[in-house]
């Protein structure tokens, strides 16, 4: 601690020295005066000291944690331990669900709309989590499937007046289908190469959407897409928002259940094995092509399905909604939340989507803060906010031990 304190003092003095001409001296050319702004130097000193100290403190903590981990110790945070307690987890989930259900009754339409977009990103994050978090396939073009789902609904709705409920599963299926089609060329790729090819997919989709005017109406997009119907009732805008909100809650719950079940199954374990070591994975009798394709297609399924909801919610889609930026945000949600962790991804989505909404005052600095926080995250907590929970299994041997003891 003392060491870090001293170093921070040195850093702070050095910063004072460096910024002195800029921060303190100001020459007023109009009146031929030199202003000495001594207060500024104090701010520089305090800020640089605090930042440097915090930085060093965090690094030191990381070192300690690493050491404990090497010695086989427990490095889980209190939150992590709490999350691994199953009954507590269920109670917490119950409370959250109730809170989610009463939310639109308490808050106004604006808040509900924001929450809907956060929930959309929760599902997208959970879908991408299958690719990136579980199967370890870095996908930078995930938004392509989102766009495919949205446009499938938009086009079919425009020409054939197909309704939302019909298209919800169809959108997922179409996403899935494209996942398989695009999955074949990437079977042999891994790591960076895979990332670049998927990045290309995302770009291609956007170019196709912009230029295939006869099908997609080009950059002007498709307007007047139907909102989801409720037994033919005529809902007001506010009520419709609430309705879509509840649809999203149901979809989120559905997604959580399905991805959780997939994760703790033979298929999910094969995905994780693929992430850990490809060669060992095939040597253990796992069909790599099938496993990769299934992960890719299932990831795409959620994007396709949620694309339908997105189109229906905004009633207007154009290619500008499906840029690389969206892919980057979805990927950031997964990485920030914790790869492979369902709870982490949900938390990540709320942080990354809700914070910018509520901090509109700082909107100019949004990307700056975004980049800085991602960098810090990778340095201090590369496993994300909540790392994947360790799955434990009950086996007869253990039960006998308890009986004997």
């Amino acid at each position: 601690m003392w060491q870090e304190f001293k170093q921070s003092i040195v850093v702070s003095i050095w910063f004072v020295f460096l910024t002195f001409p800029l921060m303190v001296v100001r020459v007023n050319t109009m009146e031929d005066l030199v202003e000495w702004r001594w207060m500024n130097i104090a701010w520089v000193a305090i800020a640089s000291f605090l930042l440097s100290y915090l930085w060093r403190y965090m690094l030191a903590r990381k070192q300690v944690r690493k050491k404990v981990e090497e010695e086989g110790g427990d490095t889980r945070s209190k939150l992590q331990i709490m999350l691994e307690n199953e009954s507590l987890r269920f109670k917490a989930m119950g409370v959250l669900l109730v809170a989610a259900l009463v939310y639109p009754q308490i808050f106004d339409t604006y808040q509900t709309t924001i929450m809907i977009s956060a929930l959309i990103y929760v599902v997208l994050g959970l879908g991408l989590n299958i690719n990136v978090g579980l199967a370890g396939m870095l996908d930078l073009g995930y938004v392509a499937f989102f766009g495919i789902g949205a446009y499938t609904f938009g086009i079919l709705n425009h020409h054939f007046d197909v309704g939302f409920w019909m298209m919800l599963p169809v959108g997922g299926m179409v996403g899935c289908l494209f996942g398989v089609i695009l999955g074949f060329p990437i079977l042999r790729l891994r790591g960076d190469y895979l990332a670049i090819v998927t990045l290309g997919f995302g770009m291609i989709l956007k170019v196709v959407l912009e230029n295939w005017g006869s099908l997609t109406f080009g950059p002007s997009g498709i307007a007047n897409i139907d909102k989801p119907g409720l037994f033919g009732l005529d809902l007001s805008l506010a009520n419709h928002t609430i309705y879509i909100y509840y649809i999203m809650i149901a979809l989120v719950v559905f997604t959580i259940i399905v991805t959780n079940r997939l994760k703790n199954s033979r298929v999910g374990r094969a995905w994780m094995a693929l992430r850990e070591d490809e060669v060992a994975c095939i040597a253990m009798g796992i069909d790599m092509a099938r496993t990769k394709l299934s992960a890719y297609a299932l990831g795409a399924f959620w994007a396709g399905m949620i694309g339908v909801v997105f189109a229906s919610k905004t009633t207007f889609i154009n290619p500008a909604s499906f840029t690389f930026m969206e892919s980057a945000i979805i990927l950031s949600i997964v990485v920030l939340g914790g790869m492979g962790s369902i709870l982490g991804v949900i938390l990540g989505a709320f942080i990354l989507i809700l914070l910018p909404e509520y901090m509109r005052a700082f909107s100019e600095y949004r990307m700056l803060i975004f980049g800085a926080s991602m960098t810090l995250m990778m340095i201090f907590r590369p496993q994300g906010l909540i790392s994947g929970l360790r799955q434990t299994y009950l086996y007869k041997g253990a039960k006998e031990e308890i009986d004997n003891g």
Binding site: R266, V267, R269, A280, I282, A283, M284, Y395
Partner: protein, 266 residues
Amino acid sequence: MAENKHKLLEVKGLTMDFGGLRAVDSVSLDVHEGEIAALIGPNGAGKTTFFNCVTGIYNPTRGDILLHPKEQKTRRLNGLKPNKVTEMGLARTFQNIRLFQGMTVLENVMIGRHCRTKAGIFHAILRGKTFREEEQQIVESSYQLLEKVGLGDSANEFAKNLPYGAQRRLEIARAMATDPLLLLLDEPAAGMNPQETSALDQLIVKISTEEKIAILLIEHDMKLVMNISDPVYVMEYGKKIAEGSPQQIKDNPKVIEAYLGEEADA
């Protein structure tokens, strides 16, 4: 060598070229049921390449790899994908440990059960009775395997946190989870201390006698090889230069030459 034993693996004239380099040059080798065969040779002799050909990681340039499972028809393994080879009944470990580091010890073994179980995506989502039964059966059999290799207590540890010797044993347990007819061990004793090596020695003998799994191992630890294996095959520069019982190998001048070099002509 007992001729009455059932021949399990038959490799005939296996050749593997990498461009102009012949890494394995028409090597023939048989492994019979119940045998612990060893493949030895100086570094770079082509032993691991031979393994990679047999297990499907490389597609050999020439030669035949035939598997004769008892009471089933013979299968040719050339050109099959590694996962198919494993399904046929050949499981392997790696020279440099390749565990699934971020998964628990038990999960590592459970992966080995993958090719012997069937549950697909829809089973996983619906969680029917068959799925839960199969899942429980995977857990139980994996745990039993862990007990066998002496890792029952650390079932829920992360694989990366295991000590080195235990990681080696976990790799063997994982390979055994695929219900193999033949287990191929690539330098299982590499980097182990004498105690760990002798424990491994016992484990390999136990697998061979109790589980009735034939074993082919690559090893540099001569003590281990001479103690437990028969027959021994020796490779040098991609060619097989000798085969026979450990005693025959010890006395074979070609082998001594390969390991110690020729006597200087003065």
